[in-house]
């Protein structure tokens, strides 16, 4: 057990450093962006005096490192700070954005894993056959259409033409669970692209695994076809897809800006975008902490899967 435990502990310790790195990187980049919160708040009336006044009221006249240090000091006490623009606590921003984001992400992943793996396995089973080509073409085709166009298309057909589903979740606010119909299209759009990347990776891995002697032996020994596919071949095929899945979850939690905008689901992506364009650094930093921690956790999980599925690694001289 100790090898694994020390691996996890080391990664968590490094993870703290990585999160700090994320925060620093994001801070540096946001600082380097032209303008600051005062300038963006001034909008199309950038009167220099007014900007100076806003700047003073936001304490933006302090040097960057002092502001960062101040913010980091608060973080040690579990305080993520307050928004420069509204003065509301950053935790509130995160909490508001997190709920819809988590809901969407959870639903999407819950469907994505079986769909991606299932399609990948199916395509691999019939390599070069009609099913394979159909699955590959359709998923690739959808992948090559940008989310936005795909979303507009789905809305047009299923919401506006057929009237089966609401076109957006406008006004539903945090109460998305009560309106499951409003989630169907966003989840469909969110699924469209990752299904392709994951099923393609699973397919590739499965082709190699299914052609392997151990699978031939398992077949010969009369083990059920499904069991061979999912318990024997899949573990050897799924490591890259697990990494891709971690990336997808990352993306679902932090970057589904297009879907959020198209279906009016104000999640973390929207919070992030607004905060960046307002140069609301405390909020951006708070998000960076969240993303950093999530990424560390996801990467660790994905690496544990890889580690578990290729147990020989680390043994080699």
């Amino acid at each position: 057990m100790s090898g694994l435990r020390s691996f996890v502990v080391r990664r968590l310790v490094l993870g703290a450093g990585q999160t700090a790195g994320v925060v620093l990187l994001v801070f540096a980049l946001t600082e380097a962006l032209p303008g600051d919160a005062a300038v963006t708040l001034a909008g199309d009336r950038p009167e220099p005096e007014r900007i100076a006044a806003i700047r003073a009221s936001m304490r933006l006249d302090l040097p960057a490192y002092e502001r960062l240090a101040h913010w980091a000091g608060g973080l040690l006490h579990g305080d993520l700070g307050r928004s420069l623009v509204t003065g509301r606590p950053v935790t509130g921003y995160l909490a508001d954005g997190l709920a819809p984001t988590l809901l969407l992400a959870a639903l999407t992943v819950a469907l994505l894993v079986p769909a991606g793996v299932g399609l990948g396995v199916l395509a691999a089973r019939r390599e070069g056959g009609r099913a394979d080509r159909l699955i590959s073409s359709v998923t690739l085709g959808i992948y090559a259409v940008p989310e936005f166009a795909f979303g507009v298309l789905l809305v047009f057909v299923f919401a506006l033409r057929l009237g089966w589903l609401p076109p957006t979740a406008v006004g539903y606010g945090g109460d998305l669970l009560a309106r499951p119909a409003a989630l169907v299209l966003p989840v469909a759009v969110l699924l469209a692209r990752p299904v392709c990347s994951i099923s393609r990776l699973v397919r590739a891995g499965m082709l190699d695994a299914l052609a392997s002697p151990y699978v031939a032996q398992a077949r010969r020994y009369g083990i059920g076809a499904a069991r061979i596919r999912y318990a024997h071949a899949l573990p050897n095929a799924v490591a890259p897809a697990a990494q891709q899945l971690a990336r997808t979850v990352d993306w679902l939690l932090g970057g589904v800006i297009v879907v959020e905008a198209l279906f009016v689901i104000p999640g973390l992506g929207t919070v992030l975008l607004t905060a960046v364009s307002a140069r609301d650094i405390p909020v951006v930093q708070g998000l960076a902490v969240v993303f950093g921690v999530l990424t560390v956790a996801l990467n660790l999980a994905a690496d544990l899967v890889t580690h578990r599925l290729a147990p020989r690694t680390g043994v080699a001289a």
Binding site: R10, Q18, G21, L25, V26, L29, T30, L33, E127, G128, D132, S136, S137, L140, G141, Y143, A144, V145, P146, F148, A149, V152, F156, R193, S197, R200, L201, R203, A204, G205, L207, A211, N236, A239, P240, Q243, Q244, R247, D250, W251, G255, I257, L272, L273, V276, A288, F291, G292, T295, N299, A302, T306, H307, A310, R312, T313, G314, V315, A316, A317
Partner: protein
């Protein structure tokens, strides 16, 4: 006997991919030759009129833009993917082939930091700060893809890198490159191809979205991906400005991937054709 049929016509499985890839590729290569000079601008989002495919969001002739817009798509897709892999592969293989934990952590953990920043945001932030040109943006987009690609390559290489065959290669004093590329990469070629194929398309739109937000390529540039992105507001007035370039990209992406599939199936093709019975044999 299907195996035999395929074997008899090995080109058959390439046809679909080849057909799909032909049109966009031909347009990309030859399109600019036929585009001709720019006519006067019309109103935006008109259908018909003088222009075959109507006009786009800025009143430019869609047909002409389509003819012009393939070259950069193909160039960016290829060069950004190649570049992303050129960086990701050595990193990933170094991590997979080393036995020094610290080295692996040193190579991979900093990449994780980049992963934590959503890629579009990353591109926007960096591009806004450094104001790269079109080529610079392609490079940036490629680099944003590096951590992702590196992790996937690393994961798929993990098993192959630990095989006795690699030990034997080390025993022979083989160079790191030959082990990495000649054996490990070859062993996970399918996964690499699958990832690269999909990544290629992703890269295109990241560039296009960045263009829309004002970095890199001109937002009214002749580029299929940019066209899809920019003309979407007029989708219901002037569908061609979106549909035509989108279909071309779909064909390009689908075609290359299917060709890749066929190529790899060909490579392993014999492996799937088990023994054949000569006609007339018993049983």
């Amino acid at each position: 006997m299907t195996a035999r049929a395929t074997a008899a016509r090995p080109w058959a499985r390439f046809t679909l991919g080849a057909l799909l890839v032909c049109l966009p590729l031909a347009l990309a290569l030859l399109g600019p030759l036929f585009a001709g000079a720019a006519g006067p601008r019309g109103a935006s989002f008109t259908v018909g009129g003088g222009a075959l495919l109507g006009t786009d969001f800025a009143g430019q002739d869609v047909a002409r833009q389509v003819l012009l817009g393939g070259r950069s798509v193909v160039l960016i897709a290829l060069s950004a993917t190649v570049l992303a892999y050129a960086v990701a592969l050595p990193l990933a293989f170094a991590a997979a082939l080393t036995h020094r934990t610290w080295l692996e952590e040193l190579l991979m953990r900093p990449l994780d930091v980049l992963l934590a920043v959503p890629s579009l945001l990353m591109v926007l932030l960096v591009a806004t700060v450094f104001e790269p040109g079109a080529a610079g943006l392609a490079v940036l987009v490629a680099l944003v893809n590096v951590p992702d690609a590196a992790r996937i390559v690393r994961a798929s290489a993990a098993e192959a890198a630990a095989r006795p065959a690699v030990e034997a290669l080390r025993m022979q004093g083989e160079s790191w490159w030959r082990i990495a590329v000649g054996y490990v990469a070859r062993s996970c070629l399918r996964t690499l191809a699958a990832d690269a194929g999909v990544r290629m398309t992703g890269v295109l739109y990241l560039v296009a979205t960045a263009a829309f937000l004002g970095v890199g390529v001109d937002p009214d540039a002749a580029d299929w991906a940019v066209m899809v992105d920019r003309n979407r507001t007029g989708l219901f007035v002037q569908p061609w400005a979106v549909v035509v370039p989108a279909l071309l990209i779909v064909a390009l992406s689908m075609g290359t991937n299917l060709l890749g599939d066929a190529g790899l199936a060909d490579r392993a093709g014999t492996g799937r054709t088990k023994g054949r019975t000569r006609k007339g044999s018993v049983g």
